[in-house]
Homo-oligomer: 356 residues x 2
């Protein structure tokens, strides 16, 4: 494997739309949510390891999840963990990890990838990453993989690219925030919009150049400790300076202002497993289109539900249509599937009512 290939595996999220299975204590990426025999982070690590050497895969996560990561990925050394001392959104932590990688290998090419997505076709994934690495090795560009939209999803950001059917890799015109339904429909009709899956590819040189140009304050806040990075002084420096950085996403911080952004439409099927409805789409259904994970069940006059419990639970349901029914230890959720975007807010409401 090419020693210049690196990955930053993003594993700090909480996945609160997957409540009550995904919680701040045990977020989605650490669950075997599809019943695949491996957790999402384990599957993602293996997928990246098809093209990237094990020791070059950095795990970016919160200090709280250090033990979970080490348990689930025993092949990872502690030096590969990049622990945020505070949650500052994606830009500061990607900058921090990039500085560590640059100091280790200034010729590094790296992919930034979420740890909690579902990608079945690993061969196509590897091909797309290889093509992107090849491009980023030759040119000073920032690349992203875009997902061909299958419906006007209002839960994702979109990437608009130039309409040049002959080119495989397309120049990005703009990043678009999560649209309303009408706008999303328009995007799909126009044909040159892709979903932003949060998968980025670039050389460490290119991305740091963009940080220096468009986020110079943040860049200098962390780069001033460059000598300390990858030494035993790193932790002290990061603990002090990291919490000062601005809370901002990588999209806002460098993708939107940069001009040299390209997108490769992904050749694989993808699902962000961002909601119970997204999980529903991936799992086998009974004759009434119910998805039942684990539960012994008796479903009367019930259709299109997703039911997820522990293996010893017996569930009897009558007259429910298109609901999410999740029983996880001391928590029970019964909610309409079409309102699943509300679940994230419900978790906050619940904390306000009863404390965390």
């Amino acid at each position: 494997m090419n020693k210049n290939y690196y990955a930053i595996l993003m594993a700090g999220g909480i996945g609160s739309r997957f409540w009550p299975v995904s919680t701040a204590k045990l977020p989605k990426q650490f669950h075997d949510i599809l019943g695949a025999g491996e957790t999402l982070i384990q599957k993602t690590f293996k997928r990246l390891n098809k093209i990237i050497p094990k020791e070059n895969i950095f795990i970016l996560t919160n200090e709280e999840y250090e033990t979970l990561v080490m348990e689930q990925l025993p092949e990872v050394k502690k030096a590969q963990l990049v622990l945020e001392p505070a949650m500052r959104n994606t830009a500061p932590c990607i900058l921090y990890a990039s500085l560590k990688i640059k100091k280790q290998n200034p010729n590094a090419l790296l992919v930034v990838a979420p740890s909690d997505h579902w990608i079945e076709d690993e061969a196509s994934f590897v091909e797309d990453i290889q093509l992107s690495f090849d491009t980023c090795e030759k040119e000073d560009v920032l690349m992203t993989l875009g997902i061909k939209p299958t419906f006007p999803n209002t839960g994702y950001g979109y990437i608009q690219h130039e309409k040049k059917p002959s080119e495989k890799i397309k120049k990005v015109e703009q990043f678009c925030e999560k649209p309303d339904y009408k706008t999303a429909k328009k995007f799909i009709k126009q044909g040159n919009f892709l979903w932003n899956a949060g998968i980025f590819i670039w050389s460490v040189q290119s991305v740091l150049k963009s940080f220096e140009k468009f986020q110079s304050q943040m860049f200098h806040q962390l780069n001033k400790g460059y000598d300390d990075i990858n030494t035993d002084r790193e932790k002290k420096f990061i603990d002090e300076s990291y919490p000062q950085t601005e809370k901002i996403s990588i999209d806002y911080a460098i993708m939107e202002p940069s001009k040299n952004i390209y997108v490769l439409p992904a050749s694989f099927d993808w699902n962000d497993l961002g909601t119970w409805g997204a999980l529903y789409d991936e799992l086998p259904k009974d004759e009434n289109k119910n998805v039942v994970v684990n539960a012994k069940n008796l479903l009367e006059n019930s259709k299109g539900n997703v039911i997820h419990t522990s293996a010893n639970k017996t569930v009897v349901i009558g007259g429910l249509k298109n609901y999410i029914v999740i029983d996880e230890k001391d928590k029970l959720l019964i909610y309409p599937k079409k309102k699943e975007q509300e679940i994230k807010d419900l978790v906050k409401k619940l904390e306000d009512k009863y404390g965390n």
Copy 2:
């Protein structure tokens, strides 16, 4: 207290319409289903003990529940337990208990009462029982307490009595099976129908006379062991002869054929807690008419539900109206309240699907 006063507390039922809280292993009467601080059988025992000496209250139950009864009613001696070796419906076990009581006290007056009903006004209950005892002491009659119907309930049997408003205790014209809705409405309009609550009062002499007359086979099957009863030979005799008796209810066996049946309209509020909907009626409601027992909860756009869980459960529900949501250890029920009569059958279906 009058030493001739006796009670037969019926505690052998399974309460399967209260699934999953009430199960064959731990039926309804052994639960504190209203959150009153006492189980239903404990409350019923105390209520009867207001007029009947402790040692004269016999507990009629299945062998399986012996330990439960002794735990929940530690003041009861083992000799007061009447254990069915097999489930034969109510007539054989009432006959068996009556023979035991007659041998102890041939002048006994007794009340037969379910152990799992709710009666708040205990003073009125005692007055009604006293009046009935007084009547049965003087006359050879079989009495029952009837409940004034508040709506055309199709889940109860009805008692039709003579229309003589001047008489407090009314002669019964007939016992009617659970009616359909139209018939139930007609009953209520006619004004001389009461709900059959399964509360009977009679002298031990009168009831045994009726058994001998209308159920002579059953009477002789058990009375032939009269000498053994209340001795250490009783168990052997009952184990052999009891399973031979006919499975028949007390209503069919003696109330319907007998001519000397009277009913006293009860002066107290009563609820058989036969279903989750009946429980719903008795408990305090939130501003959206939801009844929540125990659960920490967040209910969005949800009305008229009854939610019953363990105390440490957090429940989040959206868009549910008039549902029963019960989480009990390894069982979860989500069912429309108006279809609650189906629950009994669902339990059977479930057993067929997965075994018991």
